[in-house]
Structure formats: C-alpha cells, structure tokens
C-alpha cells in the first residue's frame, strides 16, 4: 500500500489489516509510516513499514522484494501515493510542478504495476492492482488542473491492464474517493467556502471517513468478493460526482 503514511492510503491499510491482510505501509517517510504500522499492530493486526519512494524504480523494487521476503508473496498492490496538489494556473504551470504530479501519480502507478506483475501473476485469480484516482480525473479541475490528467492516466491504465491481465485472472480497478484526508482538510481550512460547497454537493452531506467509508471499498476489490469486477472506477464520495 503506497502512500499509506497518511490519508486515504492509511485508511485503506487499516481496513485491509482489520480484515486479516498482512499490510506493507509503503511510506516515503518513516516518521509517518512507522506510527501507522505500529498502531495497526497494537490493534492485533499485521503491518510493517517499508520506507519507499514511488518515483524511484530502485526503491519500489526493494519494497516489493522486502514484501516477498517478509510475507512470502504479493497478492494485492495498491498505489495511492501522490504529491503536487497545489492550486495553479495551467498557462503558468512549470515543469517542476508537472513532474511532481507525473512522477508520483503516473510513474508511481507504472512502477507499482510493472514491478508487482510477476507476483500478481503468481497469485492468479487472487491478483489485484488497485489505483487510487479521483473524480477530478473524470470531470477536470478548475483549481488544480494538472491533477486531472494524471488521475485520468491511472483510469486508462486500469482499463487497458484489466484487458491485458484478465486472462491471467488478475483484476485492475480504480477507486475515486472523496474523504477526510489531511490534504482535503487542509484545503477546507484555507477555504471554508470550499467545504460548504463540497458538503452541499454531497448527497450524504458528510465527508467520507478514511478507514470506514473508503477502506471497505478497497477491501471488497481486494477480496474474492470483488473478483469479477475489473477495469472499473468505483467513485466513493458520498454521492457527489455521478458522471459515470
């Protein structure tokens, strides 16, 4: 589980661990990843932190290798890590901000998929790749325009890979959550009007809980119950974006 040191990644990691998974908290910083892994273990579930940079092939290779060594296999790869959600004007976007978005969301997805593949293939019908995208990857974004193409790229990857890996039994899906991540809460803090607008547009009138609202969707896709769902994006946002 990449990007599991906080936010959506942490929520999904907790939910998967609670359902019996051995979870690798692949976090960029030990300061965030280690406490998450420790608190999961304190609940009696299994987790370990492996410090991982998703933009580095070497780091991702090491993460996968350590996972195999520790747990004897890798059945479910979840890529959530993302950096670069700073508001900007598209006409002024520089290569640096583009790179941050591209490297974490898209290159990170590519490394997650290509490096996990031999193990997902070994897992056969239990093999899962789950990419965390966003409703913005479908509808575009006026505040963070470059966020949309990198999130859309993940959706296309899930569709094409689901067709390519389907004969092996591996499923590939996306989850598009809106939940109380530190990133979203930070944005609300800076812009209270945004919170009002987002909540008002949400059918259930509340922002999703990371572990208990988003986590179960990942658990479903990762489990045998989700074995006939592939190539899809499950929007989990309390009933806001309904464009699929």
């Amino acid at each position: 589980m990449t990007g599991a040191g906080q936010g959506v990644g942490e929520g999904i990691a907790r939910a998967c661990a609670a359902q019996g998974a051995n979870v690798v908290i692949a976090a960029r910083r030990a300061e965030t990843g280690e406490p998450v892994a420790a608190s999961i273990r304190e609940r009696g579930d299994e987790a370990v932190c492996i410090v991982t940079d998703v933009t580095s092939r070497d780091s991702m290779t090491a993460c996968v290798a350590e996972t195999i060594e520790r747990y004897g296999g890798l059945e479910v790869m979840v890529h959530n890590a993302y950096r670069g959600a700073a508001p900007h004007r598209l006409e002024e976007l520089d290569v640096e901000l583009w790179d941050r978005n591209s490297r974490t969301a898209v290159w990170g997805s590519y490394y997650s998929a290509v490096l996990a593949f031999p193990h997902l293939r070994d897992a056969g019908a239990r093999g899962r790749l789950i990419l965390i995208t966003s409703p913005s990857g479908v509808e575009g974004s006026v505040n963070i325009p470059i966020y949309s193409p990198v999130k859309a790229a993940q959706r296309a990857m899930a569709k094409s890979l689901s067709r390519e890996w389907g004969p092996l039994g591996i499923t590939v899906n996306c989850i598009a959550p809106v939940a109380a991540s530190p990133a979203l809460m930070g944005a609300f803090e800076q812009n209270p009007v945004l919170e009002e607008r987002v909540t008002a547009r949400t059918s259930l009138r509340r922002i999703g809980d990371l572990e208990h609202d988003i986590g179960p969707v990942a658990v479903f896709l990762a489990s045998g119950d989700g074995g006939y769902v592939t190539g899809q994006t499950i929007v989990c946002d309390g009933g806001s974006f309904m464009g699929l």
């Binding site: 006409e91 949309s148 296309a156 094409s160």
Partner: protein, 228 residues
C-alpha cells in the same frame, strides 16, 4: 457558401502522418483565412513549440484562433506487453505526449488570451475503452483528454474553448479495430473518412457555432463508443 471558419487562422499539429494531413485538408474545407500544419518532431520542447506557434501566426498574418492538436510520438503507437515496457519507453510515450501537449496548450493560450479561440485535441476512443498491449498509449491519450477538460474549466472566462474529438481506433496506428471493444457494429458504418466524416466535427468545434461547447469529447466513430 458554407464557410464556418471564415476569417480564422488555424494550426493543425501532427501533419506528418496521413490522419493529420487529411484533417488539415478537411479543415481547409471550412474556409479559414489561413491554415498550416506542424510536424510532431518540431514540437518536442517548450522552446520549439513557442517558435512553431509564433511562426504559424506570422504565416497567418495574425494570432492563431484555432489549434487542432493531433501530434503524438511515433513510439506511442507500438503495441507491447506491459511487462516489457521499460522506463525509456514510458518516458517516450507518457512524457513525450503530455509535455508537448501542455506546451501546445500554453502557447495556444498566449495566442488566444484576450481574444478567445478554440482548441481541439484528437483523442481516439481507445483511451476510454482501454486495450491490451496499449497501456502507454491509452494512458497518454486519456491524460490529454483530461488536460483538455481542466483547460476548458480554467480558460472558459477567457473565451477559450477546449474540446476533444474521438475518432475510431482504426484512425490511429495502434492496430485496434472498433470491434475489439464493442460487440455492436458502428451504427453509421465505420471507421469513417477523415475529410468527409471527422473533419466536419473538428471544424464545428473550432467554429463560432460551437461557442457554448467546451470540455466535451465528441465521439466521431460512426456510433460505437456511446458511454456514458
């Protein structure tokens, strides 16, 4: 005479390939005051893009009103098992598509700022359907398609519209047929002729007739992909 692009200065990218060349021919049929093509190889860096757009404006004797972006690096069209994709290929297809597309949009913005204009990206339907052995290609095309939506949202107040036209996959060199992703045959027959069937959709989006249309993807595939 029907001249929906009367008075418009148009640039079409990716005209080194048949599709782009034929699209430029079709756009010329819309009666622009000027239209010219730019090859994909001339649009790799931001500096190159800026020089090419400025040169196009000079040729047209005024700022560009319409940019039709077809350009894509040749390597993107190669089908390959995902497990065989290496970093160099990912860089060439993903970054090699997205960065020039971003630079073209930014240069188009500068041409159109304060005056309005229309940008049309050609994004074959295969990015929406997905296709095996085409992960890099479909990822890049879908990235372009959402870049268009975000640009449409930000630049609408400037009168700049950004849309996509999605032809059948047969019009891309990726070797995928429409029947690979749909059990139904193309409702109108397919995959259609670039000049007669697809260019008119591009011309419409480029013209003032589509002045209230932005951020959309119009499938011009003869009626195959109908989602959502």
């Amino acid at each position: 005479m029907h001249r929906p692009l009367d008075g418009k200065r148009v640039v079409v990218t990716g005209t080194e390939r048949d599709f782009g060349r034929e699209l430029l021919d079709g756009v010329l049929g819309g009666g622009p005051s000027h239209a010219s093509g730019i090859a994909t190889s001339a649009l790799e860096t931001r500096a190159q893009v800026d020089v090419q757009l400025a040169a196009a404006a000079e040729r047209a004797r005024g700022p560009v009103d319409v940019v039709v972006h077809v350009a894509m690096p040749e390597v993107a069209f190669e089908a390959i098992d995902f497990a065989e994709v290496d970093d160099a290929r990912w860089e060439a297809v993903w970054e090699g598509t997205m960065r020039p597309t971003l630079f073209v949009l930014q240069a188009a913005f500068r041409e159109m700022q304060g005056r309005g204009g229309s940008i049309v990206l050609v994004t074959p339907t295969v990015s929406m359907s997905g296709a095996e052995r085409l992960v890099p290609y479909t990822v890049a095309v879908e990235g372009q398609r959402l870049l268009a939506k975000s640009a449409a949202r930000q630049w609408g107040p400037d009168g700049i519209r950004v849309n996509c036209v999605a032809p059948a996959p047969e019009h891309s060199a990726v070797g995928v047929e429409s029947t690979a992703v749909s059990l139904a045959p193309p409702a109108l027959g397919g995959p259609g002729d670039v000049v007669a069937d697809i260019a008119p959709v591009v011309v419409w989006l480029a013209s003032d007739a589509a002045h209230f249309v932005t951020g959309v993807t119009v499938c011009a595939d003869g009626g195959v992909w109908m989602a959502p």
